[in-house]
Protein backbone atom coordinates (compact mmCIF):
# COMPACT_ATOMS: atom_id res chain seq x y z
CA UNK A 1 0.00 0.00 0.00
CA UNK A 2 2.75 2.43 0.92
CA UNK A 3 4.46 1.77 -2.43
CA UNK A 4 1.18 2.53 -4.19
CA UNK A 5 0.89 5.81 -2.32
CA UNK A 6 4.43 6.83 -3.19
CA UNK A 7 3.86 6.00 -6.89
CA UNK A 8 0.68 8.01 -6.68
CA UNK A 9 2.45 11.00 -5.13
CA UNK A 10 5.19 10.83 -7.76
CA UNK A 11 2.46 10.73 -10.36
CA UNK A 12 0.91 13.90 -8.96
CA UNK A 13 4.34 15.55 -9.04
CA UNK A 14 4.92 14.60 -12.68
CA UNK A 15 1.33 15.51 -13.44
CA UNK A 16 1.83 18.99 -11.97
CA UNK A 17 4.69 19.55 -14.42
CA UNK A 18 2.44 18.36 -17.27
CA UNK A 19 -0.26 20.68 -15.98
CA UNK A 20 2.05 23.72 -16.07
CA UNK A 21 3.11 22.86 -19.63
CA UNK A 22 -0.48 22.13 -20.65
CA UNK A 23 -1.54 25.59 -19.41
CA UNK A 24 0.77 27.16 -21.96
CA UNK A 25 -0.54 24.91 -24.72
CA UNK A 26 -4.13 25.51 -23.89
CA UNK A 27 -3.76 29.31 -23.64
CA UNK A 28 -2.00 29.58 -26.97
CA UNK A 29 -4.49 27.21 -28.58
CA UNK A 30 -7.42 29.09 -27.15
CA UNK A 31 -6.22 32.49 -28.27
CA UNK A 32 -4.10 32.04 -31.39
CA UNK A 33 -6.03 28.90 -32.50
CA UNK A 34 -2.79 27.15 -33.28
CA UNK A 35 -0.96 24.12 -31.98
CA UNK A 36 2.38 25.47 -30.83
CA UNK A 37 4.57 22.44 -31.39
CA UNK A 38 7.62 24.36 -30.22
CA UNK A 39 6.16 24.72 -26.72
CA UNK A 40 7.83 21.51 -25.55
CA UNK A 41 11.20 22.65 -26.80
CA UNK A 42 10.96 25.90 -24.89
CA UNK A 43 10.98 23.67 -21.78
CA UNK A 44 14.31 22.32 -22.95
CA UNK A 45 15.64 25.85 -23.53
CA UNK A 46 14.59 26.74 -19.98
CA UNK A 47 16.41 23.71 -18.63
CA UNK A 48 19.59 24.50 -20.55
CA UNK A 49 19.55 28.17 -19.49
CA UNK A 50 19.38 27.15 -15.84
CA UNK A 51 22.06 24.55 -16.43
CA UNK A 52 24.43 27.09 -17.99
CA UNK A 53 23.83 29.70 -15.25
CA UNK A 54 24.08 27.37 -12.25
CA UNK A 55 26.46 24.58 -13.30
CA UNK A 56 28.73 26.30 -15.82
CA UNK A 57 28.80 29.84 -14.44
CA UNK A 58 28.26 28.79 -10.82
CA UNK A 59 25.65 31.37 -9.95
CA UNK A 60 22.84 30.85 -7.44
CA UNK A 61 19.77 28.74 -8.38
CA UNK A 62 17.46 31.75 -8.07
CA UNK A 63 19.39 33.61 -10.78
CA UNK A 64 19.22 30.45 -12.88
CA UNK A 65 15.45 30.18 -12.63
CA UNK A 66 14.89 33.89 -13.25
CA UNK A 67 17.13 33.98 -16.29
CA UNK A 68 15.41 30.85 -17.66
CA UNK A 69 12.08 32.64 -17.37
CA UNK A 70 13.45 35.76 -19.05
CA UNK A 71 15.18 33.87 -21.88
CA UNK A 72 12.12 31.72 -22.58
CA UNK A 73 9.74 34.67 -22.52
CA UNK A 74 11.87 36.58 -25.00
CA UNK A 75 12.27 33.47 -27.14
CA UNK A 76 8.55 32.73 -27.11
CA UNK A 77 7.66 36.27 -28.18
CA UNK A 78 10.41 36.26 -30.83
CA UNK A 79 9.17 32.96 -32.29
CA UNK A 80 5.65 34.31 -32.44
CA UNK A 81 6.82 37.52 -34.11
CA UNK A 82 9.11 35.89 -36.70
CA UNK A 83 7.43 32.62 -37.54
CA UNK A 84 3.75 32.72 -36.60
CA UNK A 85 2.63 36.32 -36.99
CA UNK A 86 3.23 36.52 -40.76
CA UNK A 87 1.08 33.42 -41.15
CA UNK A 88 -1.97 34.80 -39.42
CA UNK A 89 -4.84 34.20 -41.79
CA UNK A 90 -3.03 31.40 -43.63
CA UNK A 91 -4.32 27.83 -43.56
CA UNK A 92 -3.89 25.89 -40.34
CA UNK A 93 -1.80 23.32 -42.18
CA UNK A 94 0.93 25.86 -42.99
CA UNK A 95 0.93 27.23 -39.43
CA UNK A 96 1.26 23.70 -38.10
CA UNK A 97 4.15 22.87 -40.42
CA UNK A 98 5.89 26.11 -39.42
CA UNK A 99 5.47 25.21 -35.75
CA UNK A 100 7.03 21.83 -36.39
CA UNK A 101 9.86 23.58 -38.19
CA UNK A 102 10.43 25.86 -35.19
CA UNK A 103 10.38 22.90 -32.79
CA UNK A 104 12.85 21.05 -34.97
CA UNK A 105 15.02 24.14 -35.24
CA UNK A 106 15.24 24.58 -31.45
CA UNK A 107 16.06 20.90 -30.91
CA UNK A 108 18.81 20.85 -33.47
CA UNK A 109 20.26 24.21 -32.50
CA UNK A 110 20.56 22.87 -28.94
CA UNK A 111 22.11 19.69 -30.29
CA UNK A 112 24.79 21.68 -32.11
CA UNK A 113 25.46 24.07 -29.21
CA UNK A 114 25.45 21.57 -26.33
CA UNK A 115 26.40 18.33 -28.08
CA UNK A 116 24.63 15.00 -28.20
CA UNK A 117 25.63 13.68 -24.76
CA UNK A 118 23.12 13.92 -21.94
CA UNK A 119 24.00 16.49 -19.27
CA UNK A 120 23.37 15.77 -15.62
CA UNK A 121 21.28 18.55 -14.16
CA UNK A 122 22.02 19.74 -10.64
CA UNK A 123 18.69 20.12 -8.87
CA UNK A 124 18.08 23.77 -8.04
CA UNK A 125 15.55 22.99 -5.33
CA UNK A 126 16.88 22.61 -1.79
CA UNK A 127 13.80 21.77 0.23
CA UNK A 128 13.98 18.99 2.82
CA UNK A 129 11.77 15.96 2.12
CA UNK A 130 8.65 15.35 4.18
CA UNK A 131 8.56 11.98 5.93
CA UNK A 132 5.14 10.50 6.73
CA UNK A 133 3.94 7.32 8.45
CA UNK A 134 7.22 6.53 10.21
CA UNK A 135 9.33 6.68 7.09
CA UNK A 136 7.09 4.49 4.95
CA UNK A 137 6.29 7.41 2.68
CA UNK A 138 8.72 10.18 1.79
CA UNK A 139 7.68 13.15 -0.24
CA UNK A 140 10.76 14.70 -1.83
CA UNK A 141 11.38 18.42 -1.77
CA UNK A 142 11.02 18.64 -5.54
CA UNK A 143 7.54 17.10 -5.34
CA UNK A 144 6.43 19.59 -2.68
CA UNK A 145 7.75 22.55 -4.65
CA UNK A 146 6.29 21.28 -7.94
CA UNK A 147 2.81 20.73 -6.56
CA UNK A 148 2.86 24.06 -4.69
CA UNK A 149 4.05 26.02 -7.74
CA UNK A 150 1.38 24.33 -9.82
CA UNK A 151 -1.32 25.51 -7.41
CA UNK A 152 0.14 29.02 -7.17
CA UNK A 153 0.32 29.29 -10.97
CA UNK A 154 -3.28 28.14 -11.37
CA UNK A 155 -4.55 30.72 -8.88
CA UNK A 156 -2.38 33.51 -10.28
CA UNK A 157 -3.39 32.76 -13.85
CA UNK A 158 -7.12 32.59 -13.08
CA UNK A 159 -6.91 35.88 -11.19
CA UNK A 160 -4.94 37.47 -14.01
CA UNK A 161 -7.44 36.44 -16.64
CA UNK A 162 -10.52 37.38 -14.65
CA UNK A 163 -9.35 40.58 -12.94
CA UNK A 164 -7.00 42.42 -15.29
CA UNK A 165 -7.68 44.24 -18.53
CA UNK A 166 -5.14 42.19 -20.47
CA UNK A 167 -6.72 39.01 -19.16
CA UNK A 168 -10.15 40.13 -20.26
CA UNK A 169 -8.69 41.06 -23.63
CA UNK A 170 -7.37 37.49 -23.91
CA UNK A 171 -10.82 36.08 -23.26
CA UNK A 172 -12.29 38.43 -25.85
CA UNK A 173 -9.70 37.48 -28.49
CA UNK A 174 -10.24 33.79 -27.86
CA UNK A 175 -13.98 34.27 -28.27
CA UNK A 176 -14.00 36.34 -31.43
CA UNK A 177 -10.97 37.99 -32.97
CA UNK A 178 -12.88 40.32 -35.26
CA UNK A 179 -15.22 41.58 -32.57
CA UNK A 180 -12.28 42.07 -30.20
CA UNK A 181 -10.54 44.28 -32.77
CA UNK A 182 -13.70 46.36 -33.13
CA UNK A 183 -13.82 46.83 -29.37
CA UNK A 184 -10.39 48.45 -29.52
CA UNK A 185 -8.37 45.46 -28.33
CA UNK A 186 -4.92 45.17 -29.83
CA UNK A 187 -5.09 41.57 -31.01
CA UNK A 188 -1.41 41.29 -31.97
CA UNK A 189 -0.30 42.53 -28.56
CA UNK A 190 -2.71 40.18 -26.77
CA UNK A 191 -1.39 37.19 -28.70
CA UNK A 192 2.20 38.25 -27.93
CA UNK A 193 1.34 38.47 -24.21
CA UNK A 194 -0.18 35.00 -24.37
CA UNK A 195 2.98 33.62 -25.90
CA UNK A 196 5.06 35.40 -23.26
CA UNK A 197 3.05 33.90 -20.39
CA UNK A 198 3.00 30.46 -21.98
CA UNK A 199 6.77 30.49 -22.51
CA UNK A 200 7.46 31.74 -18.98
CA UNK A 201 5.38 28.84 -17.66
CA UNK A 202 7.32 26.48 -19.92
CA UNK A 203 10.57 27.77 -18.41
CA UNK A 204 9.33 27.05 -14.89
CA UNK A 205 8.13 23.62 -16.01
CA UNK A 206 11.55 23.00 -17.51
CA UNK A 207 13.36 23.77 -14.27
CA UNK A 208 10.95 21.61 -12.26
CA UNK A 209 11.13 18.74 -14.74
CA UNK A 210 14.93 18.75 -14.84
CA UNK A 211 15.09 18.93 -11.03
CA UNK A 212 12.86 15.89 -10.69
CA UNK A 213 14.51 13.89 -13.50
CA UNK A 214 18.06 15.25 -13.41
CA UNK A 215 19.08 14.73 -17.04
CA UNK A 216 19.12 17.22 -19.87
CA UNK A 217 19.46 16.75 -23.62
CA UNK A 218 18.17 18.46 -26.75
CA UNK A 219 15.06 16.24 -26.80
CA UNK A 220 14.22 16.62 -23.11
CA UNK A 221 11.19 18.75 -23.82
CA UNK A 222 9.74 16.89 -26.79
CA UNK A 223 8.01 14.01 -25.01
CA UNK A 224 6.69 16.01 -22.01
CA UNK A 225 5.49 18.59 -24.53
CA UNK A 226 3.45 16.05 -26.47
CA UNK A 227 2.11 14.48 -23.29
CA UNK A 228 1.12 17.89 -22.01
CA UNK A 229 -0.81 18.38 -25.21
CA UNK A 230 -2.56 15.08 -24.53
CA UNK A 231 -3.34 16.47 -21.07
CA UNK A 232 -4.72 19.65 -22.59
CA UNK A 233 -6.97 17.66 -24.94
CA UNK A 234 -8.02 15.42 -22.07
CA UNK A 235 -9.08 18.38 -19.96
CA UNK A 236 -10.68 20.17 -22.87
CA UNK A 237 -8.45 22.34 -25.01
CA UNK A 238 -8.79 26.03 -24.23
CA UNK A 239 -9.88 25.43 -20.64
CA UNK A 240 -7.44 26.37 -17.84
CA UNK A 241 -8.84 24.19 -15.01
CA UNK A 242 -9.21 21.42 -17.59
CA UNK A 243 -5.50 21.57 -18.43
CA UNK A 244 -4.72 21.35 -14.72
CA UNK A 245 -6.89 18.29 -14.08
CA UNK A 246 -5.83 16.66 -17.35
CA UNK A 247 -2.16 17.10 -16.51
CA UNK A 248 -2.42 15.61 -13.05
CA UNK A 249 -4.58 12.66 -14.14
CA UNK A 250 -2.18 11.92 -16.98
CA UNK A 251 0.85 12.06 -14.68
CA UNK A 252 -0.80 9.62 -12.28
CA UNK A 253 -1.79 7.27 -15.11
CA UNK A 254 1.75 7.35 -16.48
CA UNK A 255 3.43 6.62 -13.15
CA UNK A 256 1.03 3.88 -12.13
CA UNK A 257 1.30 2.13 -15.50
CA UNK A 258 5.08 2.42 -15.27
CA UNK A 259 4.97 0.74 -11.87
CA UNK A 260 2.32 -1.91 -12.39
CA UNK A 261 2.15 -2.69 -16.13
CA UNK A 262 5.37 -2.07 -18.02
CA UNK A 263 7.87 0.74 -18.01
CA UNK A 264 8.37 0.40 -21.76
CA UNK A 265 4.67 0.59 -22.50
CA UNK A 266 3.83 3.57 -20.25
CA UNK A 267 4.16 6.05 -23.13
CA UNK A 268 1.96 3.88 -25.29
CA UNK A 269 -0.66 3.79 -22.52
CA UNK A 270 -0.59 7.58 -22.15
CA UNK A 271 -1.14 8.04 -25.87
CA UNK A 272 -3.91 5.46 -25.87
CA UNK A 273 -5.66 7.71 -23.36
CA UNK A 274 -5.62 10.45 -26.00
CA UNK A 275 -7.24 8.19 -28.58
CA UNK A 276 -9.88 6.99 -26.11
CA UNK A 277 -10.70 10.56 -25.05
CA UNK A 278 -11.10 11.62 -28.68
CA UNK A 279 -13.41 8.66 -29.27
CA UNK A 280 -15.59 9.14 -26.21
CA UNK A 281 -15.59 12.89 -25.56
CA UNK A 282 -13.73 14.86 -28.22
CA UNK A 283 -14.22 18.17 -26.40
CA UNK A 284 -12.44 16.84 -23.31
CA UNK A 285 -13.60 17.05 -19.71
CA UNK A 286 -14.23 20.77 -19.58
CA UNK A 287 -14.10 21.84 -23.19
CA UNK A 288 -16.85 23.80 -24.87
CA UNK A 289 -18.56 22.71 -28.03
CA UNK A 290 -17.94 25.47 -30.53
CA UNK A 291 -20.63 26.02 -33.09
CA UNK A 292 -19.34 26.93 -36.48
CA UNK A 293 -20.96 29.70 -38.45
CA UNK A 294 -20.84 29.96 -42.21
Amino acid sequence: MSSFISYFINGISLGSVYAIIALGYTMVYGIAKMLNFAHGDIIMVGGFTTYVITSTMGMSPMVGILSAVVVCTVLGVAIERIAYKPLRGASSLSVLITAIGVSYFLQNAALIIFGADTKSFQSVINVPPIVLADGAITISGVTTVTVLSCIVILIALTTFINKTKTGQAMLAVSEDKGAATLMGINVNRTIAVTFAIGSALAAIAGVLLCSAYPTLSSTTGAMPGIKAFVAAVFGGIGSIPGAMIGGIVLGVIENLSKAYISSQLSDAIVFSVLIIVLLVKPTGLMGKQIQEKV
Partner: protein, 355 residues
Protein backbone atom coordinates in the same frame (compact mmCIF):
# COMPACT_ATOMS: atom_id res chain seq x y z
CA UNK B 1 -6.85 10.34 -83.01
CA UNK B 2 -8.42 11.11 -79.68
CA UNK B 3 -7.22 14.28 -78.02
CA UNK B 4 -5.14 13.54 -74.92
CA UNK B 5 -6.38 15.54 -71.95
CA UNK B 6 -4.07 17.79 -69.96
CA UNK B 7 -4.41 15.62 -66.87
CA UNK B 8 -3.41 12.46 -68.73
CA UNK B 9 -0.44 14.31 -70.14
CA UNK B 10 0.65 15.31 -66.66
CA UNK B 11 0.33 11.76 -65.34
CA UNK B 12 2.23 10.43 -68.35
CA UNK B 13 5.00 12.96 -67.75
CA UNK B 14 5.34 11.66 -64.18
CA UNK B 15 5.60 8.04 -65.31
CA UNK B 16 8.10 8.96 -68.03
CA UNK B 17 10.17 10.85 -65.47
CA UNK B 18 10.34 7.80 -63.22
CA UNK B 19 11.17 5.45 -66.10
CA UNK B 20 13.87 7.83 -67.35
CA UNK B 21 15.31 7.97 -63.84
CA UNK B 22 15.30 4.17 -63.77
CA UNK B 23 16.99 3.93 -67.18
CA UNK B 24 19.70 6.42 -66.25
CA UNK B 25 20.46 4.60 -63.00
CA UNK B 26 20.50 1.19 -64.71
CA UNK B 27 22.85 2.37 -67.45
CA UNK B 28 25.04 4.03 -64.85
CA UNK B 29 25.03 0.79 -62.85
CA UNK B 30 25.62 -1.55 -65.80
CA UNK B 31 28.56 0.43 -67.16
CA UNK B 32 30.13 0.03 -63.73
CA UNK B 33 30.58 3.75 -63.08
CA UNK B 34 28.31 3.90 -60.05
CA UNK B 35 30.01 4.09 -56.69
CA UNK B 36 29.02 1.51 -54.10
CA UNK B 37 27.60 4.35 -52.01
CA UNK B 38 25.18 5.31 -54.76
CA UNK B 39 24.36 1.67 -55.41
CA UNK B 40 23.37 1.26 -51.79
CA UNK B 41 21.08 4.29 -52.09
CA UNK B 42 19.03 2.97 -55.00
CA UNK B 43 16.44 0.99 -53.00
CA UNK B 44 16.23 3.65 -50.25
CA UNK B 45 15.50 6.20 -52.98
CA UNK B 46 12.53 4.09 -54.06
CA UNK B 47 11.00 3.80 -50.63
CA UNK B 48 11.60 7.43 -49.82
CA UNK B 49 9.84 8.41 -53.04
CA UNK B 50 6.90 6.11 -52.22
CA UNK B 51 6.73 7.62 -48.72
CA UNK B 52 6.86 11.15 -50.12
CA UNK B 53 4.02 10.57 -52.58
CA UNK B 54 1.99 8.72 -49.98
CA UNK B 55 2.29 11.55 -47.46
CA UNK B 56 1.39 13.96 -50.23
CA UNK B 57 -2.04 12.30 -50.43
CA UNK B 58 -2.75 13.31 -46.85
CA UNK B 59 -1.03 16.69 -46.80
CA UNK B 60 -1.56 17.86 -50.36
CA UNK B 61 -4.84 16.34 -51.44
CA UNK B 62 -6.68 15.94 -48.17
CA UNK B 63 -5.16 18.99 -46.42
CA UNK B 64 -4.52 17.20 -43.14
CA UNK B 65 -1.20 16.61 -41.46
CA UNK B 66 0.09 13.17 -40.56
CA UNK B 67 3.16 12.96 -38.36
CA UNK B 68 3.01 9.20 -38.07
CA UNK B 69 4.02 8.03 -41.49
CA UNK B 70 7.08 6.42 -40.00
CA UNK B 71 4.67 4.46 -37.80
CA UNK B 72 2.73 3.11 -40.79
CA UNK B 73 6.03 2.32 -42.45
CA UNK B 74 7.02 0.47 -39.28
CA UNK B 75 3.78 -1.54 -39.31
CA UNK B 76 4.34 -2.49 -42.95
CA UNK B 77 7.98 -3.34 -42.35
CA UNK B 78 7.28 -5.64 -39.41
CA UNK B 79 4.28 -7.29 -41.10
CA UNK B 80 6.38 -8.01 -44.17
CA UNK B 81 9.31 -9.20 -42.09
CA UNK B 82 7.22 -11.54 -39.92
CA UNK B 83 5.77 -13.07 -43.08
CA UNK B 84 9.23 -13.38 -44.63
CA UNK B 85 10.67 -15.39 -41.74
CA UNK B 86 7.58 -17.57 -41.16
CA UNK B 87 5.19 -18.63 -43.91
CA UNK B 88 7.15 -16.91 -46.65
CA UNK B 89 10.48 -18.54 -45.86
CA UNK B 90 9.90 -21.51 -48.16
CA UNK B 91 8.29 -19.62 -51.02
CA UNK B 92 10.15 -18.44 -54.12
CA UNK B 93 11.74 -15.04 -53.52
CA UNK B 94 9.56 -12.98 -55.82
CA UNK B 95 6.31 -14.60 -54.71
CA UNK B 96 7.26 -14.07 -51.07
CA UNK B 97 7.94 -10.38 -51.69
CA UNK B 98 4.68 -9.85 -53.56
CA UNK B 99 2.62 -11.48 -50.81
CA UNK B 100 4.56 -9.56 -48.16
CA UNK B 101 3.77 -6.30 -49.95
CA UNK B 102 0.06 -7.05 -50.05
CA UNK B 103 0.06 -8.07 -46.40
CA UNK B 104 2.05 -5.00 -45.34
CA UNK B 105 -0.27 -2.69 -47.25
CA UNK B 106 -3.35 -4.39 -45.82
CA UNK B 107 -2.21 -4.30 -42.20
CA UNK B 108 -1.08 -0.66 -42.48
CA UNK B 109 -4.43 0.21 -44.04
CA UNK B 110 -6.24 -1.43 -41.12
CA UNK B 111 -4.15 0.60 -38.67
CA UNK B 112 -4.83 3.74 -40.69
CA UNK B 113 -8.53 2.98 -40.50
CA UNK B 114 -8.43 2.41 -36.74
CA UNK B 115 -6.54 5.67 -36.19
CA UNK B 116 -8.86 7.47 -38.55
CA UNK B 117 -12.07 6.49 -36.74
CA UNK B 118 -11.63 8.75 -33.70
CA UNK B 119 -9.73 11.52 -35.46
CA UNK B 120 -11.12 12.19 -38.89
CA UNK B 121 -14.55 13.19 -37.64
CA UNK B 122 -12.97 15.97 -35.57
CA UNK B 123 -12.02 19.43 -36.75
CA UNK B 124 -8.67 20.97 -36.05
CA UNK B 125 -5.16 19.70 -35.76
CA UNK B 126 -5.94 16.46 -33.98
CA UNK B 127 -4.75 14.21 -36.77
CA UNK B 128 -1.20 15.53 -36.45
CA UNK B 129 -0.95 14.84 -32.75
CA UNK B 130 -2.74 11.49 -32.86
CA UNK B 131 -0.62 10.17 -35.71
CA UNK B 132 2.46 11.39 -33.86
CA UNK B 133 1.26 9.50 -30.79
CA UNK B 134 0.51 6.45 -32.94
CA UNK B 135 4.06 6.42 -34.31
CA UNK B 136 5.44 6.45 -30.78
CA UNK B 137 3.02 3.75 -29.58
CA UNK B 138 3.96 1.40 -32.43
CA UNK B 139 7.68 1.92 -31.84
CA UNK B 140 7.35 1.34 -28.08
CA UNK B 141 5.13 -1.71 -28.45
CA UNK B 142 7.40 -3.38 -30.97
CA UNK B 143 10.42 -2.71 -28.78
CA UNK B 144 8.63 -4.25 -25.81
CA UNK B 145 7.11 -7.41 -27.24
CA UNK B 146 8.52 -10.84 -27.87
CA UNK B 147 6.81 -12.91 -30.51
CA UNK B 148 7.41 -16.59 -31.10
CA UNK B 149 5.84 -19.30 -33.20
CA UNK B 150 5.63 -23.05 -32.77
CA UNK B 151 3.32 -25.82 -33.89
CA UNK B 152 0.61 -24.50 -31.59
CA UNK B 153 0.60 -21.04 -33.16
CA UNK B 154 1.88 -17.61 -32.17
CA UNK B 155 2.99 -16.72 -28.65
CA UNK B 156 3.32 -13.16 -27.37
CA UNK B 157 5.02 -11.88 -24.23
CA UNK B 158 6.10 -8.50 -22.94
CA UNK B 159 8.72 -9.91 -20.53
CA UNK B 160 11.39 -11.90 -22.33
CA UNK B 161 11.93 -14.69 -24.84
CA UNK B 162 11.78 -17.43 -22.20
CA UNK B 163 8.29 -16.57 -21.01
CA UNK B 164 6.97 -17.28 -24.50
CA UNK B 165 6.87 -21.00 -23.45
CA UNK B 166 7.58 -22.19 -26.94
CA UNK B 167 7.43 -25.87 -27.84
CA UNK B 168 10.63 -27.56 -29.01
CA UNK B 169 10.02 -26.81 -32.67
CA UNK B 170 9.32 -23.13 -31.94
CA UNK B 171 11.36 -20.11 -32.97
CA UNK B 172 11.38 -16.58 -31.63
CA UNK B 173 10.48 -14.05 -34.33
CA UNK B 174 10.60 -10.66 -32.62
CA UNK B 175 13.17 -10.47 -29.84
CA UNK B 176 12.07 -7.27 -28.17
CA UNK B 177 14.38 -4.38 -28.92
CA UNK B 178 16.66 -6.67 -30.95
CA UNK B 179 13.95 -6.94 -33.57
CA UNK B 180 13.75 -9.52 -36.33
CA UNK B 181 16.90 -11.16 -37.66
CA UNK B 182 17.64 -13.34 -40.66
CA UNK B 183 15.61 -11.47 -43.26
CA UNK B 184 15.98 -12.51 -46.91
CA UNK B 185 17.16 -9.13 -48.34
CA UNK B 186 15.49 -9.75 -51.68
CA UNK B 187 14.40 -6.23 -52.55
CA UNK B 188 16.08 -4.62 -55.52
CA UNK B 189 15.97 -1.41 -57.50
CA UNK B 190 13.71 -2.78 -60.26
CA UNK B 191 11.09 -3.98 -57.78
CA UNK B 192 11.32 -0.62 -56.00
CA UNK B 193 10.68 1.28 -59.22
CA UNK B 194 7.76 -1.00 -60.12
CA UNK B 195 6.22 -0.35 -56.69
CA UNK B 196 6.76 3.38 -57.14
CA UNK B 197 5.02 3.26 -60.53
CA UNK B 198 2.10 1.34 -59.06
CA UNK B 199 1.84 3.87 -56.20
CA UNK B 200 1.88 6.72 -58.71
CA UNK B 201 -0.78 5.00 -60.78
CA UNK B 202 -3.02 4.68 -57.72
CA UNK B 203 -2.49 8.31 -56.72
CA UNK B 204 -2.97 9.78 -60.18
CA UNK B 205 -6.15 7.78 -60.59
CA UNK B 206 -7.36 8.91 -57.21
CA UNK B 207 -6.71 12.57 -57.99
CA UNK B 208 -8.51 12.40 -61.32
CA UNK B 209 -11.46 10.43 -60.01
CA UNK B 210 -14.79 11.54 -58.61
CA UNK B 211 -13.59 10.56 -55.14
CA UNK B 212 -10.37 12.53 -55.52
CA UNK B 213 -12.26 15.65 -56.51
CA UNK B 214 -14.52 15.16 -53.50
CA UNK B 215 -11.48 14.95 -51.22
CA UNK B 216 -10.04 18.14 -52.68
CA UNK B 217 -13.40 19.91 -52.41
CA UNK B 218 -13.49 19.05 -48.70
CA UNK B 219 -9.95 20.36 -48.30
CA UNK B 220 -10.83 23.67 -49.94
CA UNK B 221 -14.14 24.27 -48.24
CA UNK B 222 -15.47 21.72 -45.83
CA UNK B 223 -18.81 23.37 -45.23
CA UNK B 224 -19.56 23.89 -48.91
CA UNK B 225 -18.59 20.29 -49.64
CA UNK B 226 -20.81 19.05 -46.84
CA UNK B 227 -23.72 21.11 -48.07
CA UNK B 228 -23.68 19.36 -51.45
CA UNK B 229 -23.85 16.03 -49.70
CA UNK B 230 -20.25 14.85 -49.54
CA UNK B 231 -19.46 12.76 -46.49
CA UNK B 232 -16.44 14.50 -44.97
CA UNK B 233 -15.22 11.70 -42.74
CA UNK B 234 -15.69 9.04 -45.43
CA UNK B 235 -13.57 10.84 -48.01
CA UNK B 236 -10.93 11.92 -45.52
CA UNK B 237 -10.75 8.34 -44.34
CA UNK B 238 -10.34 7.15 -47.92
CA UNK B 239 -7.34 9.43 -48.49
CA UNK B 240 -5.82 8.55 -45.14
CA UNK B 241 -6.17 4.78 -45.54
CA UNK B 242 -4.71 4.78 -49.05
CA UNK B 243 -1.81 6.87 -47.79
CA UNK B 244 -1.23 4.52 -44.84
CA UNK B 245 -1.31 1.48 -47.12
CA UNK B 246 1.30 2.98 -49.44
CA UNK B 247 3.50 3.87 -46.46
CA UNK B 248 3.16 0.22 -45.45
CA UNK B 249 4.37 -0.82 -48.92
CA UNK B 250 7.40 1.41 -48.46
CA UNK B 251 7.96 -0.30 -45.11
CA UNK B 252 7.90 -3.77 -46.66
CA UNK B 253 10.45 -2.62 -49.22
CA UNK B 254 12.54 -1.17 -46.39
CA UNK B 255 12.43 -4.43 -44.41
CA UNK B 256 13.35 -6.53 -47.43
CA UNK B 257 16.42 -4.40 -48.01
CA UNK B 258 17.90 -5.28 -44.59
CA UNK B 259 18.98 -8.46 -42.90
CA UNK B 260 18.02 -7.26 -39.41
CA UNK B 261 14.96 -5.15 -38.68
CA UNK B 262 14.75 -3.09 -35.50
CA UNK B 263 12.43 -0.29 -34.51
CA UNK B 264 14.80 2.50 -33.48
CA UNK B 265 14.02 6.19 -33.12
CA UNK B 266 16.26 6.72 -36.13
CA UNK B 267 14.36 4.66 -38.67
CA UNK B 268 10.77 4.75 -37.43
CA UNK B 269 10.81 7.70 -35.06
CA UNK B 270 9.52 11.24 -35.21
CA UNK B 271 12.59 12.37 -37.18
CA UNK B 272 11.71 10.04 -40.02
CA UNK B 273 8.17 11.39 -40.20
CA UNK B 274 9.56 14.93 -40.27
CA UNK B 275 11.98 14.02 -43.05
CA UNK B 276 9.11 12.72 -45.20
CA UNK B 277 7.23 15.93 -44.44
CA UNK B 278 10.26 17.94 -45.59
CA UNK B 279 10.20 16.04 -48.90
CA UNK B 280 6.56 16.98 -49.38
CA UNK B 281 6.94 20.62 -48.34
CA UNK B 282 10.08 21.20 -50.37
CA UNK B 283 8.63 19.50 -53.44
CA UNK B 284 5.49 21.55 -53.16
CA UNK B 285 2.44 20.49 -51.17
CA UNK B 286 0.12 18.61 -53.51
CA UNK B 287 2.77 18.30 -56.21
CA UNK B 288 3.46 14.59 -56.72
CA UNK B 289 6.37 15.03 -59.12
CA UNK B 290 7.96 17.68 -56.92
CA UNK B 291 7.89 15.54 -53.80
CA UNK B 292 9.64 12.70 -55.65
CA UNK B 293 12.34 15.03 -56.92
CA UNK B 294 12.77 16.49 -53.43
CA UNK B 295 13.08 12.96 -51.99
CA UNK B 296 15.83 12.10 -54.47
CA UNK B 297 17.74 15.33 -53.92
CA UNK B 298 17.46 15.23 -50.14
CA UNK B 299 18.59 11.60 -50.05
CA UNK B 300 21.60 11.98 -52.32
CA UNK B 301 22.74 15.45 -51.29
CA UNK B 302 23.50 14.65 -47.62
CA UNK B 303 25.65 11.72 -48.75
CA UNK B 304 27.63 14.01 -51.01
CA UNK B 305 27.88 16.79 -48.44
CA UNK B 306 29.08 14.79 -45.48
CA UNK B 307 30.82 17.78 -43.90
CA UNK B 308 27.42 19.40 -43.42
CA UNK B 309 25.91 16.36 -41.73
CA UNK B 310 25.78 17.99 -38.29
CA UNK B 311 23.74 20.84 -39.68
CA UNK B 312 21.46 18.76 -41.89
CA UNK B 313 18.50 18.66 -39.49
CA UNK B 314 18.92 22.35 -38.68
CA UNK B 315 18.80 23.14 -42.39
CA UNK B 316 15.64 21.01 -42.77
CA UNK B 317 14.02 23.05 -40.01
CA UNK B 318 14.92 26.35 -41.65
CA UNK B 319 13.67 25.02 -45.01
CA UNK B 320 10.31 24.12 -43.47
CA UNK B 321 9.86 27.55 -41.89
CA UNK B 322 11.11 29.49 -44.89
CA UNK B 323 8.98 27.56 -47.38
CA UNK B 324 5.88 28.15 -45.29
CA UNK B 325 6.56 31.84 -44.75
CA UNK B 326 7.27 32.36 -48.43
CA UNK B 327 4.42 30.27 -49.81
CA UNK B 328 1.59 30.79 -47.35
CA UNK B 329 2.01 34.12 -45.56
CA UNK B 330 -0.70 36.48 -46.83
CA UNK B 331 1.86 39.29 -47.20
CA UNK B 332 4.28 37.12 -49.16
CA UNK B 333 1.48 36.04 -51.48
CA UNK B 334 0.46 39.65 -52.03
CA UNK B 335 4.09 40.61 -52.67
CA UNK B 336 4.48 37.84 -55.24
CA UNK B 337 1.31 38.89 -56.99
CA UNK B 338 2.49 42.52 -57.18
CA UNK B 339 5.83 41.32 -58.53
CA UNK B 340 4.17 39.21 -61.20
CA UNK B 341 1.88 42.08 -62.11
CA UNK B 342 4.71 44.54 -62.58
CA UNK B 343 6.63 42.01 -64.69
CA UNK B 344 3.58 41.43 -66.83
CA UNK B 345 3.04 45.18 -67.20
CA UNK B 346 6.59 45.68 -68.37
CA UNK B 347 6.31 42.83 -70.82
CA UNK B 348 3.08 44.19 -72.23
CA UNK B 349 4.69 47.61 -72.58
CA UNK B 350 7.65 46.11 -74.44
CA UNK B 351 5.34 44.25 -76.78
CA UNK B 352 3.41 47.45 -77.45
CA UNK B 353 6.58 49.43 -78.14
CA UNK B 354 7.84 46.77 -80.49
CA UNK B 355 4.60 46.89 -82.35
Amino acid sequence: MKEISKKTKQSLATYILVIAFYAVCEIWLKTGNMSSLMEGLLVPLCYYMILAVSLNIVVGISGELSLGHAGFMCVGAFTGAIFAVTAGANLPELLELVIAIFLGAAVSAVFGFLIGIPVLRLRGDYLAIVTLAFGEIIKNVINAIYLGVDSAGFHISIKDALSLNLAEDGTTIIKGAQGITGLPRNANFTIGIILLLISLFIIQNLINSRQGRAIMAIRDNRIAAESIGLSVSKYKMMAFVISAALAGVAGVLYAHNLSTLQATPKNFGYNMSIMILVFVVLGGIGNIKGSMIAAVILTILPEKLRFLSDYRMLIYAVVLIAMMLFNSAPKAIAFRERLMESINLKRNKNIKEEA
